[in-house]
Symmetry: C2
Subunit: 380 residues, 2 copies
């Protein structure tokens, strides 16, 4: 049905009406005092969301741009880095790091499995000369729905003492607890079209004092992504280059909503939606791609050789967009996004429509209604 689209993908995520309307306001000058006030409020609320006193900088890029900035600002060609790779995004950061001439050691796990923190411990403990300058980790791997154990890996990075921890929190920030100061995360990148509940086009990087120290000796060339320019401008409630004024008006409304809901409630909601989704898939005898102990609270990947048929029926008949598998997982999994502006009703809706889709496709081996029943229990 026209204009009846419901997004259950891992980004862009649904956007609240008040955020859309804030974005539809006429832009104002980005160098005006009025807009400085907006930047000041955003910066304060971004720090709240990141649970940090570190700088949190806003970039006009996608999440990949924020991660590139988070890597190239603090490293030099030839620097040794460990990159966790157990999915499409881990793979991307390894590739990006190599493009910039970093000396990359990949710590891998099979797609669908979490990185093993012990692999990081071994590599970091073996580095007695402290040659490893950074450990780059994808917290929630969007391609597989796996949540890596950032907290434990980070403990080993802290024990190493020298290396920075650089985190892709693109689908974890705002969906899972990422206490930047408590854990001592040096660099954390994220993007607007995920937990932030606004459309794509803005990205964020938080930077610790330790990372700024590394900046002083880092030699990779940079200009548009030079984070020091962003810091200098942000300290004056400004931006180094023309910022996306309308998206930032949307962000202002979205962060105000998030503050009203509260961080604990936001995280608990995402956990509840995840539990409900996973319980429903189990009840429908659909295998989950990520294990329970490493389940992303942003996205659930579900195994089915009928994945593409399921997606296409869900779209055509129920106007629900699910994500497919990427690369070798195409046709093998579908992915249900449940992050950002997603509530209990949305998850029930998706499960009910999925049940109807399975019936339509002639699936056997499940009890119609079992998914909803299982999900409902988790939503008590």
């Amino acid at each position: 049905m026209e204009n009846k689209n419901m997004l259950m993908i891992p980004g862009p995520t649904p956007v609240p009406e008040n955020v859309l309307l804030a974005m539809a306001k006429h832009p104002i000058g980005h160098r005006s005092g009025e807009f400085s006030n907006v930047i000041a409020e955003l910066t304060e609320n971004l720090k709240w969301l990141h649970q940090t006193q570190n700088d949190v900088l806003m970039l006009t890029t996608s999440g990949t741009g924020a991660m590139e900035a988070g890597i190239i600002n603090f490293l030099s060609a030839g620097d040794q880095v460990l990159v966790g790779n157990n999915g499409k995004f881990g793979e991307r950061w390894a590739k990006l790091s190599k493009k910039f001439g970093l000396n990359v050691t990949e710590i891998t796990a099979e797609w669908g499995h979490p990185l093993n923190p012990e692999d990081f411990r071994t590599a970091l403990e073996a580095d007695t000369n402290k040659e490893i300058k950074a450990v780059i980790i994808t917290h929630s791997e969007t391609s597989t729905g796996v949540l890596n154990d950032l907290e434990t890996i980070n403990k080993y990075v802290k024990a190493h003492g020298e290396a920075l921890i650089i985190v892709d929190a693109v689908t974890s920030l705002g969906a899972f607890n990422v206490p930047v100061d408590e854990w001592g995360l040096d660099v954390v990148g994220s993007g607007s079209q995920k937990g932030y509940m606004i459309p794509p086009g803005l990205a964020f990087v938080s930077v610790s004092a330790k990372a700024w120290k590394a900046y002083e000796t880092a030699t990779l060339p940079k200009f548009y992504l030079d984070l020091k320019a962003y810091k200098k401008a942000t300290d004056q409630d400004s931006s180094p280059f023309t910022p996306p004024v309308n998206l930032m008006n949307g962000l202002q409304a979205a962060l105000q909503m998030m503050k009203r809901e509260g961080l604990d409630n936001i995280f608990a909601r995402h956990q509840r939606l995840t539990n409900a989704t996973r319980a429903a898939m189990k009840a429908l005898n659909l295998p989950l791609y990520a294990p329970d102990h490493a389940a992303s609270t942003a996205i659930t990947a579900v195994c089915s050789d009928d994945a593409e048929k399921i997606r296409s029926t869900m779209k055509k008949k129920f106007d629900i967009a699910l994500a497919g598998g990427q690369d070798h997982l195409k046709g093998k999994i579908f992915r249900i996004g449940h992050l950002g502006f997603v509530g209990e009703r949305d998850v029930l809706t998706a499960i009910a429509s999925l049940e109807a889709t399975l019936i339509e496709l002639g699936h056997q081996g499940f009890t119609p209604g079992a998914g909803i029943a299982a999900a409902a229990k988790e939503l008590l």
Copy 2:
């Protein structure tokens, strides 16, 4: 008055209501067939606007990001480049080029004066070994309202034969004729918040076959700004990284409007608004910062030691935002933007309010009404 803001700055420029409403639509998945159709239409219409068959690529950056991409994709550290510098943006491209290790020769003119094409001819003719790899020019210098003579400079670049011409058309594209194919412009960068009539957050680069050939041997590191990735994706009506879906919906509406108006009409309108603005300033005995023969059709800079008082009264009493002078021009000039979604009525409004402001500030030496009378003649 609250919410009564009228933008007469060189970006963000005013945005039509239908564009704002297009941006307020719920985002759809950027990997959906529906959105592929949007990308295909945008690409076709961007080529129309650039008057080119070259690739025109969309980036999630400000204009500076597009210019960085347009420079680093086609050059290597140590490459000789000529950079025209007669204002803040020329200065920026020289600085950026140096950051990336290019061997920069600056060809300068005083702020407020156009670059002298003969300086380029001399430098290019002296380069018998064809060491100069690129000439980087700001077409319309936003900081001063000077339009550089790109057409003539480009002829000398073409006579050189080897060098690429890389153009900052951020405030000329859509405000002045920039016939990319007719002139043979290799790389042209621009940004959404100018002639495109949409808010900031999107940028554009057109790339010629000659530039793509240079890409093959260019060695500066790049990933997020790697234009080949954008080309590959664009050829499949897709994008390499998550694009700003809502801004692109706005762009779709804006380009459709521009096509209905027609390129010749758009350029004629900008010329008319420029002529009217300049005639009015002369009638009010306010000296123009750029000479008539090098007047940008996007922005008019006006000399006044009362510049900041004028801006503040225009803002407070008439809710019109004018731009100030940048760097050493702060307090010495004010700048009237007249590009994008700006019509005859807007220019008359600004002039009428400026006259009232001059009266309020006790200015002498002009006849009240003379500005409007002079402008009206140009709008016949």
